[in-house]
């Protein structure tokens, strides 16, 4: 064989292997839901658009998924962004204030809000790459101050938005599916192209896997990290737009509240290790949908929205434990001991 051929089969098999467990977990939740919560999988149509619990999951899961996509890149570089919730609030505040109070037309206000999110991400990235702060500490600063900034923007009020275009983002549907899903699809495609058609994906994974070796191989480590945080900020801002659209207002106290854990969890479930390195964008989307299904299931099982975080936290810990090599070794030892005990 003179001409080496690309091995698409190998690559596809690798992707399938990486996504196997997230998909199995998602299926498990859906099955449990179908059994215990009547109507969990029912889809109907009203006025030509699909409705039902799965569609709701898709709609609200898309918001988490968009944040998770940005978070995936940051985690892949070996970092973490705790400020996404605060950035969601800031972006929602900027959108609402620009549209409702300043009278800025929405085609200008929306990019402006995303830009603000990008700036917030760049700020985090600067703290990480220039000041060399640990990512947790660096993003903690904005986590503390972010909601204050958002309230400063809105003047502490809940600013309502009556712009129909903004309303359509979260509450409209196209081709039968919610617009948020199409937005997610667009963000995913854009990021996938950016990451896979350029070398960014490779360089991000390298930096996260071994940053000393990456630097010696000539990888522009700082720019790569900066890029990841900027993307994360932009994604959080898009989620802020969606949030603002859902409730037709910017409620900075509640917008994006506790979103950071959902996003981190979605990334971890999706198969990206918290230590950085290889990452899977599609895995994070599956992880986000899984989280949203779980939230929705708990809701349908009459678990109140306030209690719902507790079982979610259990899932987080379980998933992290399963990823932990120490835990695996521990379980392996126990299993072997039991085998030895039963001759």
């Amino acid at each position: 064989m003179a001409e080496p051929r690309p091995h698409p089969g190998v690559a596809l098999a690798a992707i399938a292997r990486d996504l196997l467990w997230p998909l199995v977990a998602l299926a498990a939740i859906l099955v449990v839901g179908a059994i215990f919560a009547p109507g969990f999988l029912t889809i109907g149509t009203i006025d030509g658009r699909l409705v039902g619990t799965p569609i709701d999951i898709l709609n609200h899961g898309s918001k988490v998924a968009i944040v998770a996509l940005g978070m995936t890149l940051v985690i892949a570089t070996g970092g973490v962004d705790l400020s996404v919730g605060a950035v969601v609030a800031i972006a929602a505040a900027v959108t609402a204030t620009l549209v409702s109070e300043q009278g800025v037309p929405w085609p200008l206000a929306v990019p402006a809000a995303v830009l603000v999110g990008t700036m917030a991400g760049l700020w985090n990235g600067m703290l990480v790459t220039v000041l060399r702060l640990q990512p947790i500490v660096a993003t903690l600063v904005l986590m503390v101050a972010g909601r204050g900034i958002a309230q400063l923007v809105t003047g502490g009020l809940i600013v309502t938005v009556r712009e129909p275009a903004i309303d359509l983002i979260g509450n409209g549907a196209s081709v039968g599916l919610p617009n948020t899903f199409w937005l997610l699809a667009a963000v995913f495609l854009g990021l996938a192209l950016l990451v896979r058609r350029t070398a960014l994906g490779l360089l991000i994974a390298c930096v996260g896997d071994n940053d000393s070796a990456s630097r010696l191989a000539g990888v522009p480590e700082r720019s790569v990290r900066l890029f990841a945080y900027a993307v994360c900020g932009s994604c959080a801002a898009i989620a802020g737009l969606i949030d603002c659209s859902y409730i037709r207002a910017a409620d900075v106290n509640n917008a994006g509240q506790l979103l950071e854990l959902d996003a981190i969890l979605a990334v971890v479930i999706g198969g990206t290790a918290l230590t950085g390195g290889r990452f899977s964008l599609i895995g994070s989307i599956i992880g986000a949908m899984l989280m949203q299904s779980l939230t929705r299931l708990l809701y349908m099982l009459d678990v109140s929205a306030e209690i719902a975080p507790a079982p979610k936290a259990m899932v987080v810990l379980a998933v992290c434990l399963l990823q932990s090599s120490v835990f695996r070794a521990f379980v392996g030892r126990v299993a072997r001991r039991q085998e030895a005990g039963t001759p």
Partner: protein, 351 residues
């Protein structure tokens, strides 16, 4: 100065390091900055507002921040040992509701309920610390999950605020158990929560400065590898710091319950950030090893002063607090980085 006895009398001069400036230990700089900020904040308030420098304002400063102080002391242990605990506020809410529920619905005596709540908090911290230590999970993730868990548990215990009307609680709060200080025109009454907070600070100060355990906390935060080689039981000490943080969060939750006379599952959202901010502004290094509860006390007072000043300002909205706190945290973290960089440069040039 070190004088090695056998060293030749003449000292070889090192041309690249002039010794004109006396050596200031760079790790003191953050603590000095803390004291400076505290004094400056107070003077600013006193200069701007007429009634600022009154006993009443000072008393309220203490009363309003007592529970934050207790929680921040817990966070100090964890951060000194090089970890982080994001579950503080949620554990407070959980224990606050637990106490209210036990007293009001189960008819348990408040003293017993308080003991149970503190034990629950300690066990919670113990569990978090064990996950972190035994399975090598990142501290921020475990305690973030812990935050959700505790918050969910708080709502599961009781979905709304639940008033505590037991006579014992009223007795705890009434004048008989408070400190009366003859200052100002009508004297100042310091409630028991402040007294407890003071006792916590005194005891933890002693623990950290004067006991082998406290020194081990400093040691593992400063250089975990060296501490292991020197025979410090790193795992046990680390788990203990999380248990202490859990227990003190619970105590803070109890103090909050007394302060509000109610258990509230929505209480103390984001208080963990205030606690961490107080620790950092108090001069404790976030990477561990340097700092202490006196700094944390000053940090809490700074946060309280900022709040007070913004209240006095009247037309300034309260969210400025978060922004000022964020800026202060950033300033102190940057200061710590600078100090680290200077210290390491000094060490290499001394080599």
């Amino acid at each position: 100065m070190i004088r090695e006895r056998q060293s030749p009398p003449e000292r070889r001069s090192l041309p690249h390091r002039p010794r004109l400036v006396p050596r200031l230990d760079p790790s003191v700089v953050p603590s000095a900055a803390t004291a400076l900020v505290l004094v400056a904040a107070f003077l600013l308030g006193a200069a701007r507002y007429e009634n600022f420098a009154s006993w009443m304002v000072l008393r309220n400063l203490l009363v309003d921040n007592a529970y934050l102080g207790i929680a921040a002391v817990g966070a100090t242990f964890v951060i000194l040992a090089g970890g982080i605990d994001l579950s503080v506020g949620a554990v407070m809410a959980m224990t606050s509701v637990l106490v209210a529920r036990l007293v009001e619905h189960a008819g348990v005596h408040p003293a017993v309920a308080i003991a149970v709540a503190i034990l629950a908090g300690m066990s919670f911290g113990l569990a978090q610390g064990s996950l972190i230590q035994l399975f090598g999970l990142p501290a921020f993730l475990v305690t973030l999950a812990g935050m959700f868990l505790a918050r969910g548990a708080a709502f599961a215990l009781h979905p709304q605020s639940l008033g505590v009307r037991h006579p014992f609680v009223a007795q705890l709060l009434n004048d008989s158990l408070s400190l009366h200080i003859p200052l100002g025109p009508r004297g100042v009454v310091i409630p028991i929560t402040v007294v407890v907070a003071g006792a916590v600070i005194a005891i933890t100060w002693w623990t950290l400065r004067q006991t082998p355990f406290g020194r081990a906390v400093h040691a593992i935060g400063d250089d975990e590898h060296a501490a292991t080689l020197m025979g410090v039981p790193v795992g046990r000490v680390r788990v203990m710091t999380y248990a202490i943080a859990g227990g003190l969060s619970a105590l803070a939750g109890v103090a909050f319950t007394l302060y509000q006379q109610a258990g509230d599952p929505t209480a103390c959202k984001g208080l963990e950030l205030d606690a961490i901010a107080a620790v950092v502004i108090g001069g404790t290094l976030l990477r561990g090893g340097v700092g202490g509860v006196i700094g944390t006390l000053m940090g809490v007072l700074i946060l309280g002063l900022i709040q007070t000043i913004i209240t006095f300002e009247g037309d300034l909205s309260s969210w400025w607090t978060r922004i000022v706190v964020g800026v202060l945290v950033l300033a102190f973290v940057a200061l710590q980085r600078g100090v680290d960089a200077i210290a390491s440069r000094r060490l290499t040039s001394a080599a």
